[in-house]
């Protein structure tokens, strides 16, 4: 493997958790729910994946455990905001704080243990394509799932009838209700999908990216995922571009720091954020398209009149 391939590979590894968490949150927000608890769901996924992998000795079971942990944690959010109609912003923030604390407690026993790494799956034939074969078709299963999620969500939202209903709920939940669309049920499913994606993104961190458990190991990636969704104006393909751009600049600035470029390291550390925001803002300059894509009832609670 040459140097270029190695760098691209690290970029893909850095981008995968962001992409997964963001694509999940995109579906949640398209349904009109603002779940600020992405960071909390991710860290719960990370600790659950690590712990289950340790206990069962299987990284695969760990990944599944991370996914389920994120989904269960999102159900708590769903119950509070959709059934009990609590404020979404406050509940989301609380979910993050709870997740960081709870994961620290669960992870106490696993600090310093060497972790299991999820093995890469080589796809026959395709992996033999020169250069890109090894990059794209010899990866861990979570990477494949992140790409499938982007394609699947894009198809679901813009081609399927269920996706149309979900977008309709995000645009106006009361109109959707008047048409007989099941608002609360759809939102529960969306929130659970978002939780599953965030959980899997967290699992990627603790059993693929750096196979170990460190407290607060998500390090703000949940928040970046949230920002990506907004700056990508709720379009899956733009989330993909944003996540990879962020990954590329993060890795690039690390190399730049290692090479000792004459730029303050603080500025280089901030560069991924600045570059991603700048590019996505430029993409979303078309205000009409942004407005059409913005879920109009985002963050608003829905209480059906009966």
């Amino acid at each position: 493997m040459d140097m270029t391939q190695a760098i691209i590979l690290t970029i893909m590894t850095a981008a995968t958790p962001l992409l997964l968490a963001a694509i999940g949150e995109l579906v949640v927000e398209r349904s009109g729910v603002l779940n600020l608890g992405v960071e909390g769901m991710m860290i719960m996924g990370a600790v659950a994946a690590f712990a289950i992998a340790q206990i069962t000795g299987s990284a695969g079971l760990g990944a599944i455990g991370g996914l389920i942990a994120g989904m269960l944690f999102s159900l708590l959010f769903g119950f509070l905001t959709l059934t009990l109609v609590a404020n979404q912003v406050a509940t989301g923030l609380a979910l993050t704080i709870l997740g960081l604390g709870l994961s620290g407690m669960i992870g106490e026993a696993f600090i310093g243990l060497p972790g299991l790494k999820l093995a890469a799956i080589e796809i026959p034939v395709l992996a033999d394509i020169p250069f890109i074969g090894r990059l794209l078709f010899n990866q861990d299963p979570i990477f494949y799932m992140s790409i499938i999620a982007v394609i699947g969500v894009n198809w679901f939202l813009f081609k399927s009838r269920a996706g149309l209903r979900l977008r309709a709920i995000g645009d106006s939940h009361s109109s959707a209700h008047a048409l007989g669309v099941k608002v609360v049920r759809t939102r529960y499913l969306a929130v659970m999908f978002g939780g599953a994606c965030a959980g899997l993104a967290g699992a990627h961190l603790s059993i693929v990216y750096t196979p170990q458990w460190v407290e607060n190991m998500t390090a703000g990636r949940g928040w970046i995922a949230l920002a990506l969704v907004v700056f990508a104006s709720w379009r899956p393909t733009r989330v993909l571009a944003g996540a990879y751009l962020f990954g590329a600049v993060s890795i690039g600035q690390l190399h730049a720091q290692a090479l000792g470029v004459g730029i303050p390291s603080q500025f280089l550390s901030a560069l991924p954020y600045l570059a991603t925001i700048a590019v996505l803002v430029i993409i979303s300059l078309n205000r009409r398209m942004t407005l059409i894509n913005t879920p109009a009832s985002l963050g608003k609670s829905f209480v059906p009149e009966r």
């Binding site: 149309l164 309709a168 645009d171 106006s172 109109s175 008047a178 048409l179 059409i292 009966r306």
Partner: protein, 524 residues
């Protein structure tokens, strides 16, 4: 009930009741709609019409009573069940999704998994057949109100319903668009479908409906053939008591120009807003100028630049009493003696969670600083003085409220509107600009507000009323202008203006005759 239909009614309700807490929004409603009949449901705002049809369409659950479809009791638990039964509905506040296309909006209302392309095709065919032209791939956000209504109608028709419910369909249409709608309704009737037509416009109901059920305060107060009734007998059933006549007598010769708009243009603030183009308007002391137009043609944008909520680059574009104020904000304009009443009561004209006194201070803290505030720069509120002013306003405008100083949001729409208009009138403004003064207000409150506006003009102020209600426009205006796609027509004397001409102007047909009329009134 001399001409009781011999056949089984298509839809019948017996003792249908809906309670919201202790309020009986619908109280033991008996309604019977025959097959192939256009049936009117008449009543004022808040009479329970919308609640009743929401029960018929499965959006609300009845508290008591039953619904019979073709003689058999049915339970309509959801809009989907209503559609399956054979009921289609065109909502008053459109249940459309602005971010979606026409075809997507239609697809949402259909069950099953028919492809969007197929729906586009079918919708295109139906819209041609019923004379309702539509482009299936357009985004709803880009469509006019009339076009949006067509989507609703086509959407209802795609289900092939036997009963179509239309909730206040003409309130957003030009007279010409309304005529087209009536043609569509006649075609539906000729196909044997029934129509439940909800309205408070008597003239329309008499023109197109075979029977009418009248509601007041949630109860049925009349069941009649509207063609056998007079408008006043129908109004009697709707309102109960007599409604005070508005008197425009005593409006003298207009005096000096108090507010003047010259060649005002403003770009649209958002993709869904309207740009204002070359607006000219001058309003003199002692006259009421009404600006008619279909919603969404720049009314709120015009209001915002007149009030100073949006400033304009060219200071001379707006002059109040000869002073250029284009770049001045709302407080500065208020200090010059202006008053403004925006369209949206909740959230724009009043903070719903705050009491009336606090809302009074919020709008008049600058203009009535000496009375309402003390302590110099600290600005302590003189609660006593504010309470006296609030009490005075409530008495003059007959604001009915629970308690001495309730939250603005707890008042009914009509009473809150009386308070908001009264709040400005109380200052005797030299210039008053009002947007939709009686939107969603009952007839009693509306006539009171209209009379107050006329009285203000009589006392020598200039009044600008932006309104979609043509009855109101004709009732109070000295001159009438029409706004269409951000352009304002030359105001013409109300005496020579006709509904047909307003309808044409609403549709964007301008000609040069306006100038001649305007010169005539001032020469007179």
């Amino acid at each position: 009930m001399e001409n009781l239909p011999t056949e089984t009614p298509l839809l019948e309700t017996r003792g249908l009741t809906k309670m919201f807490g202790s309020l009986r929004a619908c109280d033991a409603i008996d309604l019977s709609i025959a097959p192939g009949e256009v049936h009117a449901l008449l009543g004022e705002n808040g009479a329970g019409k919308s609640t009743l049809v929401k029960m018929l369409f499965g959006v609300l659950d009845p508290s008591e009573g039953e619904i019979l479809w073709k003689g058999k009791p049915v339970k309509i638990g959801s809009p989907g069940e209503a559609r399956a039964t054979g009921v289609g509905m065109v909502f008053q506040h459109f249940s459309l999704f602005e971010a979606l296309t026409v075809a997507e909006n239609i697809a949402l209302a259909l069950d099953g998994n028919i492809g969007i392309d197929q729906i586009s095709e079918e919708a295109g065919r139906l819209s041609q057949e019923y004379g309702l032209p539509l482009d299936p791939s357009a985004h709803v956000a880009d469509l006019s109100v009339g076009e949006r209504q067509r989507i609703e109608i086509v959407r209802a028709l795609l289900q092939n319903p036997e009963l179509i419910i239309l909730d206040e369909p003409t309130s957003v249409l030009t007279p010409q668009e309304a005529d087209k709608l009536f043609e569509t309704l006649a075609k539906l009737q000729s196909e044997g479908r029934s129509v439940l037509y909800i309205s408070h416009r008597l003239e329309e109901v008499q023109r197109i409906c075979d029977r009418a059920t009248v509601l007041r305060h949630g109860k049925v107060t009349g069941d009649c053939d509207p063609r056998q009734e007079t408008p006043s007998s129908l109004a009697q059933m709707m309102v109960g008591g007599e409604v005070a006549e508005i008197s425009g007598a005593g409006l003298g010769e207009p005096g000096e120009v108090l507010i003047e708009v010259n060649k005002l243009s403003a770009p649209s603030r958002s993709p869904f807003a309207v740009a204002l183009r070359d607006i000219d308007l001058s309003v003199r002391a002692g006259e009421v100028v009404a600006i008619a137009g279909v919603a969404g043609n720049g009314q709120s944008e015009l209001f915002d630049v007149l009030s100073g909520e949006d400033k304009v680059g060219d200071a001379d574009a707006i002059k109040i009493r000869g002073q250029s104020v284009g770049g001045k904000g709302i407080t500065e304009r208020r200090l010059m003696g202006c008053g403004f009443v925006p369209e949206e009561r909740h959230g724009h004209a009043a903070v719903t969670d705050l009491p009336l006194t606090a809302n009074l201070v919020l709008s008049r803290h600058a203009s009535d600083r000496s009375t309402f505030l003390s302590g110099g720069p600290i600005g302590l509120i003189n609660t006593g003085a504010v309470a006296i002013a609030a009490k005075r306003i409530s008495e003059v405008m007959d604001v009915r409220k629970s308690g001495e100083d309730p939250a603005a949001g707890s008042l009914s729409g009509g009473n809150l509107q009386k308070f908001i208009v009264g709040r400005e009138l109380d200052r005797q403004p030299v210039v008053l600009v009002v947007n939709q003064p009686t939107w969603g207000v009952d007839a009693g409150a509306a006539s009171r507000i209209r009379q107050a506006l006329i009285d203000l003009a009589k006392s020598g102020s200039a009044v600008v009323v932006i309104s979609q209600d043509l009855d109101e426009v004709f009732e109070i205006a000295s001159r009438i202008a029409v706004i269409n796609e951000g352009r304002l027509s030359e105001p013409e004397p109300a005496k020579t203006m006709t509904r047909e001409r307003i309808g044409l102007l609403m549709g964007g047909f301008h000609d040069g005759t306006g100038h001649a009329h305007a010169e005539a009134i001032y020469a007179h």
